[in-house]
């Protein structure tokens, strides 16, 4: 087992060197069995650092390389490559994490140095057992699945489709457009959301490379990077998509003469009929029937005036059933968005109790020309508000709800302040904790709105209560401590707007399990690296775009969607991807054919060769978890890169004190 090992200890500038005595560690490493040379170097990942490895392999005939530096999740690839360039198999390399797992988490220099020595010793013991391996290459299917049809999903889908890739865009609502379709104007430029969004929605619908499936859920995801098998369920809308022309005649003809049921798109502020089109620019422009309220679907006893109105088009089909479809894609982009904070969770703001309290998204609908009031901002009693309070940070920056800043609320509150003032001439009060306006043109927008005579009061609102306790429809008092004037303010207003924060979807956990990715504690999908891989996930071939990864505004969402599309394109255009060769294999002579391993495998990669009476692992299906290896009673299964010998030696090494 005598090998020629080279050990490199990285200073990482001062990141490692300030806590770990790198010189002492290198000197110690040089004394370990098999170590031919040990060096410390300022930046191992730099070109000269990598060149050092390559040169040493040649000059000192090294056949094993160890680099003690940062996490292998960051630079293992870099050093494997350097090892390969030096002329030996890249899997003769082993990385030791003395930055994230040592220098950055400890303060005692002597103990941190001791730990670095232990970890390097483990690697020195381990590497002689390393075997030469080849990465396996798998082809990438060129089709892409985009989940979520908000602005993020739309932009990602269009970018990919314009590059000539076939895209499946799946949305669970009956129309694409997401939250952006509900907005009136967008900050800081005040362009009309519909004017900039709906052309993109139409392009999605007509693009020859995009298959748009709305009212559709993803139910199952199998496979791995380049080769995902996705099962979706197209929910019945009881209207045949290809036959409906979106004329709305059925809606007009419905036996319900007046809209009677809460309109989901307008957040319940308006009413809709059982058959409806979500909004005038809905894409696809196809009617939907709500089975909960449609008399025909509930009782089977309706005059079916809608069918009559549809006439020869025969688009209405009450017998429609959910349709299951299976697609094969190489990459997936998740753009599932967010939900707004439920303002009822803060009872002292009175949302749901007092008529004059609204969420900001409701105001978006009220000031929107296609909204329930035709763009006229009126209270529930039909009157125009003469004074309005906007409360910032509702469900954000709050220990009791969400600790994080939702990033968009200050800006949209300023926008709403501007719009409310413009439409109603009302006196507007913005109650804020800090005014957060970082972004291109944002601070300028704040100055502009301040200049328009909107009152800015720095203070977190403590209470909203009725001026006259018996009139829940009446004026409200907003109470806050003005922290600039150091006085308690009680401001009477007709309308209170709650600038609700952004939250992860309630089913974010189910969704991420479906796609086998991680979530942060708040429920946002976790990116592979917060800075350097912001749209990648820990599952190769699955990318993130938009607010499902964290709160962000439209420009950032679109930028991220473009980045996710580019990452998918990079994989697709390369045509193949290299996978870690960490798969398991059976040593036939040692296998007793006991079948213990077979139920261990979640991928059904193990079967039994009945002729030879031994287990066989299908390498293409094996994903390299090693669960079968640990279960094999005769030690007949081995996992590449994580063989028993390698791990036992690591254990020995880490504990072998001098």
């Amino acid at each position: 087992m005598s090998k020629r090992i080279g050990v490199y200890v990285c200073h990482c500038g001062t990141n490692i060197a300030s806590t770990v005595d790198v010189k002492a560690v290198a000197e110690y490493a040089a004394t370990l069995p098999g170590v031919v040379l040990a060096r410390d170097y300022k930046y191992m990942c730099s070109d000269p650092g990598q060149a050092l490895i390559q040169q040493d392999i040649k000059e000192h005939k090294l056949d094993r390389v160890i680099v003690a530096a940062c996490s292998p999740l960051l630079h293992e690839h870099t050093f494997r490559n350097a090892t390969k360039q030096g002329g030996i198999n890249e899997f003769f390399f082993q990385m030791v994490n003395i930055r994230e797992h040592d220098a950055w988490v400890h303060t005692d220099r002597a103990k941190a140095t001791e730990k670095a020595k232990d970890l390097i010793r483990a690697a020195v013991y381990r590497v002689p057992y390393h075997k030469p391996l080849e990465k396996k290459s798998v082809s990438i299917k060129p089709d892409v699945l985009v989940v979520g049809g908000g602005i993020a999903g739309i932009h990602a889908a269009l970018t990919l489709a314009n590059a000539g890739k076939k895209v499946y865009l799946v949305e669970r609502e009956p129309t694409i457009g997401g939250h952006m379709a509900k907005f009136d104007k967008t900050f800081p430029t005040l362009d009309c959301a519909a004017c900039i969004l709906t052309p993109k929605m139409t392009t999605v619908k007509t693009h020859p490379n995009i298959t748009l499936w709305t009212y559709t859920d993803v139910v199952k995801v199998d496979g791995f990077v380049g080769n995902y098998k996705v099962t979706v369920r197209r929910n019945p809308r009881y209207v045949i998509e290809d036959l409906c022309v979106g004329c709305s005649e059925c809606v007009a003809a419905c036996v319900f003469k007046e809209p009677k049921f809460p309109d989901k798109f307008n957040l319940g502020l308006g009413k809709r009929k059982p058959i409806y089109l979500p909004f005038p620019q809905a894409t696809p422009l196809v009617a939907v029937i709500d089975p909960e309220t449609c008399i025909q679907l509930k009782t089977g006893k309706c005059k079916k005036t809608c069918v009559e109105a549809c006439g020869d088009r025969q688009a209405i089909d009450f017998t429609q059933k959910p349709e299951i479809k299976e697609i094969e894609v190489g990459t997936i982009i998740l753009a599932t968005g967010f939900k707004i904070f439920d303002a009822k969770r803060i009872p002292y703001y009175g949302y749901g109790a007092y008529d004059g309290v609204y969420t900001a998204l409701e105001i978006e609908r009220l000031v929107n020309a296609s909204g329930p009031t035709g763009g006229e901002l009126v209270l529930r009693n039909g009157q125009k508000p003469r004074s309005v309070a906007i409360i910032h940070c509702v469900g954000s920056r709050d220990e009791n709800t969400n600790k994080y800043c939702s990033r968009v609320c200050c800006m949209y509150s300023l926008k709403l302040a501007h719009l409310i003032k413009e439409r109603t001439g009302a006196e507007v009060y913005n109650f804020y904790i800090d005014m957060r306006t970082p972004g291109k043109g944002f601070e300028e927008f704040y100055s502009k709105v301040s200049g328009e005579g909107v009152n800015m009061i720095r203070g977190k609102v403590a209470d909203v209560f009725l001026e006259n306790p018996t009139d829940k429809n009446g004026r409200l008092i907003v109470q806050a401590e003005d922290t600039l004037l150091n006085i308690i303010r009680k401001v009477p207003v007709d309308m209170v707007v709650l600038a609700v924060g952004l939250e992860a979807h309630a089913d974010a956990n189910e969704v991420r399990r479906l796609f086998n990715i991680s979530c942060s504690t708040e429920g946002w999908f976790l990116e592979r690296h917060p800075k350097l891989a912001p749209v990648n996930t820990f599952t190769d071939g699955i990318f993130l775009a938009g607010c499902c990864q964290g709160p962000k505004d439209i420009p950032d969402t679109v930028a991220q969607a473009g980045a996710a599309a580019a990452e998918a394109l990079a994989l697709i255009d390369n045509g193949s991807v290299e996978l870690e060769p960490n798969t398991a294999f059976v040593v036939e002579e040692e296998c007793s054919g006991c079948k213990t391993c077979i139920p261990m495998c979640p991928y059904n990669a193990i079967s039994r060769n009945e002729e030879k009476k031994v287990a066989v692992i299908n390498e293409a299906l094996c994903k390299g978890c090693g669960t079968c290896v640990a279960a094999c009673p005769s030690g007949a299964i081995k996992q590449n890169l994580f063989e028993d010998d390698e791990i036992f030696e690591e254990i020995n090494g880490v504990l072998a004190h001098v």
Binding site: L73, H101, W104, E114, D118, A122, C625, G626, I651
Partner: protein, 169 residues
Amino acid sequence: MSESTTTAFEPRIVAFFCNWCTYTAADLAGVSRMKYAPNIRVIRLMCSGRLDPQFVMAAFAKGADGVLIGGCHPGDCHYVEGNYKTLRRVTLLKRMLTELGIEPQRFRLEWISASEGDKVQRVVNEMVEQIRALGPLDLPGKHRNWDKEMEELETHVNHSQKEIPAHAH
């Protein structure tokens, strides 16, 4: 940077962390500069399901004072259900270790997701404190003592056997 001057008992803990959740959480703890006790040595596995109970036995046998296993939360395993297999093995193993006189605090399984850097910090600190209170396990030393006892016993048996007449067999 303070230098350690005391030679008090410092527990040695070997940890087996899965690549996707707990190892990443430990990286996150690093990136977030969360400070914790320097007594832990992490060995990376792709999945906690790779954990062969023999790894735990080997770690104790070679002088570890504690062994920590870190995997993804139930339902979150990168490999679907490897962590459930770990849970099964660990439950049995724990029973066996207790029988062998290894206190339960010395062997711990924790579900730590990739976003829970603070949990790595908390669990490691807790475990170090608990084991510090228990004192060294020193299984290698105990093995040496047991070997000695066995030797003595053997000599004793051999000695007394000589006194028994051959026909007694």
